[in-house]
Amino acid sequence: MFKKKVTFKIFLLLMGSDILETLVHFLFKKSTLETSSGQVADLASWLVFLKTVFASPFLWAGLLTVVAVFVLWSMILSKIDLSVAVPIASFSYILVPLVSIIFLHEQISALRWMGVFFVLAGVILVSLSSKERTEQAK
């Protein structure tokens, strides 16, 4: 089957899902900023917390974006294997920290960036190993 070959079209779909995925996480984070984080210690306070967060328009915008990602992701998974698709859809590991710095004013230490690049290196290695196997199969 063709389920391991990453074509340019599939690659574009994966990039699209990266950008939307980053947007989802940004919107979700925004929705939790509107309420004071407080102590979510038991089920009751958890439900109160969720009620506040679900009242935020950011959360619903995020959920709409999740639906878009879901449709895109469904198309991608029907074309390639899960273990190939997931690693390539990972440029959001760079996008999310950048968005965090620019729009959320979070600080990222050198050690944390190093961790991010280790994760990314792992992701690239996983992707390359799948490419090798596709070429061998030809």
Partner: protein, 127 residues
């Protein structure tokens, strides 16, 4: 502080596990459809309609909902960039699930890559 980190990491592990279960249901449902979509609005809608009529999708989505509820707590407790990087522990679950549940072939290089991701998560957590 250390206890907080441990709590947040366990919560993230829990959401990763739920997400992996959701992905497995999604993958098995899509494989059962044997559909090759083209970029065509009509076909996409037909595909989505076929998907949402499968009970397995809703089972997967309920895991997703649990994951979201816990994830929001994580986000309220910590920075987005930390939460997101640490969430890459779902790679470990996905790799294990791909190998043992979906029976996909995992090469040595792919396992090494997954190992690097683990190292990355450790660095991110230490900072």
């Amino acid at each position: 502080m250390k206890q907080d980190l441990l709590l947040v990491l366990s919560l993230i592990a829990f959401t990763s596990l739920c997400d992996t279960i959701n992905q497995l249901f999604l993958k098995s449902t899509i494989d059962s459809l044997q559909f090759t979509p083209k970029l065509n609005i009509k076909k996409i809608f037909k595909f989505v309609f076929q998907l949402i009529t499968k009970p397995r999708i809703w089972l997967g989505l309920s895991f997703s909902l649990i994951s979201l509820s816990v994830w929001l707590v994580v986000l309220s407790k910590t920075d987005l960039n930390f939460a997101f990087s640490a969430d890459s522990m779902h790679y470990i679950f996905i790799a294990l699930a791909s190998q043992f549940v979906l029976k996909e072939k995992m090469s040595a290089g792919r396992w090494l890559g997954t190992g690097l991701i683990v190292v990355g998560i450790v660095f991110v957590s230490l900072s």
